[in-house]
């Protein structure tokens, strides 16, 4: 049996295991172990399985993940979401679609700090959807808006997903964060445009909410200070050269706790819950990372990335076709995989391919992250859609998917923008002299 066939069988085995409900981490580890053994023998395969978890779990670079998760868990419990929503609502008030735009702005900032699409969607589904429905918004559009805006966290720094990509693709995390800044806020802007377009085409879906006075706006906007402070430490602290990513994550988590206690929005009980949630979430993510690294050792051994890259080079496929194929792959993966697994499974194969056609690892990190935002709201397993449906069972899931369509269109506009203008990704790292 040739190595290429073993590689294909390994991938088929992985997909089969995932389909029959074997946890993704185990599916990766099992298919990786058997595939590796088929090529290099059981002795080396077993040795590899014994050392990979140790090497990974004691890697300092990975410590950024639980610390950013902790910061988000604390922010979720310290009532920062509602204050941010009220501040954003005040900022947009009087404009048609103000509440939807406030939701997008709040999710962009809160999601960036929180770091979890599911937590962001769950939080704002409780805060924003009742408010929008009270003011006559179409329920499907309101739910679609929250489901889509909840995905902004995966792109806007400090993103946990980008931290994981940085590890698996061996890219600089500060550079990735700098690169994600503009696309992240452009995507939030495109979502606002999507709301305005819907307001124009279907005014009944997006009623105008009366404006409020300047004083009230200013008072409400003060509610943003907490997340502003966290954002400053978590992101700008890195670029000002004050902290490494791990230090920035630790300081931001610590400051979040201080703010929570100082403003009496959080007690010891809530802090304990946040720490516990962090421990459980981290273990689930790390287990997948371990499985993915075992699987990627097997993929490297098959030389699949090299073979595919050479095939593309020899076939002289145009870059457009390569990108279309990669995009199609991620659209398919996004229909059934969560975003962490999607990145861990695919990047070892797709990154060399994209580098071959002239893009770099930083650009691809942003591209693949945008594809993850699409996967999060794509049927049949759009995670944020399910989260909202669980909290608002009266809105049918297919109606929520319908509500996400304008935002899905915005996602694709960003994909086209990234491909046509890679400078949207590279400009900020260049300005910050991060090359």
């Amino acid at each position: 049996m040739t190595v290429a066939i073993i590689g294909l069988l390994g991938i088929a085995g992985l997909l089969l295991l995932i389909f029959v409900r074997v946890p993704i981490a185990l599916s990766l580890a099992i298919s990786g172990l058997f595939g590796y053994a088929a090529i290099d023998g059981w002795h080396n395969a077993l040795k590899m399985v014994g050392t990979v978890p140790f090497t990974l779990a004691s890697a300092y670079a990975l410590s950024v993940v639980p610390l950013f998760i902790l910061m988000g868990a604390v922010a979720s419990r310290a009532n920062m979401a509602r204050e941010l929503f009220e501040a954003s609502n005040a900022a947009f008030s009087g404009v048609r679609g103000a509440l939807a735009n406030a939701t997008i702005g709040s999710c962009a900032l809160f999601g960036a700090i929180c770091g979890s699409s599911i937590a962001t969607a769950a939080t704002f589904s409780r805060v924003a959807i009742p408010e929008m429905r009270k003011h006559g918004y179409d329920p499907a559009f309101a739910a679609g808006c929250v489901a889509s805006a909840g995905t902004l966290d995966v792109l806007i720094p400090p993103s946990v997903l980008l931290a994981i990509y940085a590890i698996v693709a061996e890219q600089s995390l500060p550079k990735l964060y700098a690169a994600a800044f503009i696309p992240g806020f452009v995507l939030a802007g495109l979502y606002v445009v999507a709301v305005l377009v819907v307001a124009k085409l279907r005014p009944a879906w997006v009623p105008t909410v009366p404006g409020i006075g300047l004083g009230a706006r200013l008072r409400a906007s003060l509610g943003m200070w907490k997340l502003g402070v966290l954002f400053f430490f978590a992101v700008f602290g890195i670029y000002l050269g004050w902290f490494s990513p791990t230090e920035a994550a630790a300081i931001a988590a610590f400051v979040a706790i201080l703010i929570g206690f100082a403003t009496r929005q959080m007690g010891w009980r809530e802090l304990g819950q946040a720490l516990l949630e962090t421990a459980f979430t981290t273990a689930a993510i790390f287990f997948i990372v371990v499985g993915a690294f075992i699987f990627s050792r097997f993929i490297v051994l098959t030389r699949a990335p090299v073979e595919i890259t050479q095939f593309v080079a020899n076939a002289d496929l145009g870059w457009v076709w390569v990108l279309l194929a990669v995009t199609a792959l991620y659209l398919v993966l996004g229909t059934f995989l969560d975003e962490v697994s999607m990145i861990l499974i695919s990047v070892p194969v797709t990154l060399p391919l994209v580098v071959q056609i002239g893009y770099d690892g930083i650009w691809f990190g942003i591209f693949v992250t945008v594809m993850c935002t699409i996967g999060l709201i794509s049927p049949p397993t759009g995670m944020t859609v399910f989260v909202i449906q669980a909290q608002h069972p009266e809105i049918p899931v297919e109606r929520i998917y319908l509500g996400t369509l304008p935002f899905l269109a915005a996602d694709f506009v960003l994909v086209v923008l990234l491909v046509a203008l890679p400078i949207t990704v590279s400009w900020l790292p260049d300005v910050l002299r991060m090359n």
Binding site: I18, F19, V20, R21, V22, P23, I24, A25, L26, A29, I30, L33, L46, K47, V49, G50, T51, P53, F54, A57, S58, A59, Y60, L62, S63, P66, L67, L70, W242, F243, T246, E247, A250, I251, A253, F254, G272, L275, L276, T278, A279, F280, T282, A283, A284, F286, F287, I288, F336, L337, D338, V340, S341, P380, T381
Partner: protein, 156 residues
């Protein structure tokens, strides 16, 4: 079963304490370095040790709380009993792979013990880094066995 929740919470709390420790050590290092120019020696090694502990000590809880990430598209085709059977088969596979990881980890850990490997800054014996890994894998395998014997604990 309440006892499963208790054990999961104990694992979670041990890991949570390590996460809090990582945060506090890092914050203290940054503060002392910035304010008094006295960095904490070996911060990276301490954080790495706490990271290893936090991950592996919480791993059994992932199984006890049925929080492994799965693709559940098949659920609508196989019914509740089918899902329960698939969960038990997954738990069986988990026991096998976790046992292999623990076994191979044990072999590698013995090497570090025999050679007396220590970290470069604080001379922490490397076996301290291996210990939570081995405890975590064995604990997770036992947790998977509990799942086989008593169901996933999440409405199987």
């Amino acid at each position: 079963m309440a006892w499963r929740g208790v054990i999961a919470n104990v694992c979670g709390w041990l890991a949570a304490i390590c996460v809090a420790g990582m945060m506090l050590v890092t914050v203290a290092d940054v503060a002392l370095r910035s304010l008094a120019n006295i960095p904490i020696r070996g911060t990276v090694e301490i954080v790495e040790l706490l990271l290893t502990c936090s991950f592996f000590l919480a791993l059994p809880a992932t199984f006890l709380r049925d929080e492994n990430i799965v693709v559940d598209v098949i659920d609508r085709f196989v019914g509740a009993r089918g899902v329960d059977a698939l969960k038990r088969i997954s738990a069986g596979l988990a026991i096998a792979i976790l046992a292999v990881m623990a076994w191979q980890g044990w072999i590698a850990a013995q090497d570090t013990l025999v050679f007396g490997d220590v970290t470069s800054d604080l001379a922490i014996p490397k076996i301290y880094y291996w210990a939570p890994l081995l405890i975590g894998f064995v604990g997770a395998a036992i947790s998977a066995l509990v799942v086989i014997l008593s169901g996933s604990g999440r409405g199987t």
